[in-house]
Symmetry: C2
DNA sequence: TATGCTTTGTTATTGTATTAACAACATAAT
DNA sequence: ATTATGTTGTTAATACAATAACAAAGCATA
């Protein structure tokens, strides 16, 4: 069964909240509690859980451990999905630190890459950085599926094409520069300039 | 007239492509050229421009300068929207560098803030960082409307509340921790953990 | 003048996501 | 017993976005 993209996003958020509840030894949670913590409506929560065939209990809500178990069966388990970062400038380093220092983060980063020989061959936050020329070999070897792009290069299209050929199937894109990806490859734009324009527009509409 | 959010996003992207065209002294552009560069369909482009009452010309397409002018009238002009960054750790510094070094970026950052006294009173990339205690005063003084959150603190709800009171109306949120914002305040989540979970899910669906 | 071509502009349709409405259920209170 | 209450689970309605379909315009060519 293929879940709607928005539901998958929310499942990821539910999981984080539920883990906190579990740590506090809370056995049950109401849909309205989950909802209010995540800026959602209780109906959205119940609808999402319904899609996973999770059922709650009258007057006590949903069983925290049971929901967590089902979400973990549906999403990938933290620290299992192999990921890489292309571009170890300031931004790449900061993201690597954030990801690798967080034990709850889903990504596992076995290697990073850069075009600059000064950065390649260094180690950042205990993760080796290699010359991009080694990417096809190492991505295949480690079975890396996701790439975070922070590199700034006029050859971005060639870089992306090469990554796709090497087995990358999803991108998080911090670069402005436009490039294309084949059908079936997933792409999430983290484009601050567009977001700032968007926020500016709505913030100014008073 | 209030445009759909998705249209506003795309207008921002059109603007960037059109500026390149203008720099190359291209007078006209076809909807399908604009579309293919941005992973969109020509119909989407024409529909968006229709909403702005922009009309093209038979067989030559859209006038680059005219479209740019209209988009600039609709969105805010680069380097005018006052923005701040809350949290000057590695990530905050990297984002500040990216934004302030890019002359085409819509944001203008007059000040940043941090809770850590070691970081406050420093200057990063020519922008002063202040103690968060000064935020209400300086946000009001500079008329800052947008805040980028990279700070990690258990008091995040209090921080956000204080920012809203000071006049912030839009947030870009790099922090995982959940918090609430009042109605009418815009929020864009840049949540890598959720995005990684989402990508993992779809990448694994083969 | 007629025909065909290319590209815009608009409406209709479909798809996706959110919200509303409400039935079902199980307990508590009277 | 009966009624009230609080919560889930599901269907129906609405809203928003993308896609399809096609008419309109205007120039080129024969």
């Amino acid at each position: 069964m293929r879940l709607p993209a928005k539901t998958v996003e929310r499942l990821s958020q539910y999981r984080r909240v539920l883990q906190k509840y579990e740590d506090l030894d809370e056995l049950y949670i109401f849909s309205h509690d989950l909802a209010s913590m995540l800026r959602l409506t209780p109906v959205q929560v119940r609808r999402d859980l319904m899609l996973l065939k999770i059922t709650g209990h009258y007057r006590s809500g949903y069983n925290v451990k049971a929901v967590l178990r089902t979400i973990n069966e549906t999403l990938s388990i933290p620290k299992t999905q192999k990921t890489t970062i292309i571009g170890m400038g300031e931004l790449g380093q900061a993201l690597l630190k954030n990801i690798s220092s967080n034990p709850a983060c889903p990504a596992l980063i076995p290697a990073t890459f850069d075009l600059d020989p000064n950065r390649a061959s260094k180690t950042y936050h205990n993760v080796p950085c290699y010359d991009f020329i080694k990417a096809p070999e190492l991505i295949t070897k480690h079975d890396i599926r996701i790439a975070i792009l922070t590199i700034n290069s006029p050859e971005i299209q060639e870089i992306v094409d090469s990554l796709v050929l090497s087995g990358i199937r999803g991108f998080i894109n911090f670069i402005g520069g436009p490039f294309r990806v084949p059908d079936g490859i997933y792409l999430k734009d983290y484009d601050m300039r567009t977001t700032l324009d968007e926020l500016s527009y709505f913030v100014s509409q008073m």
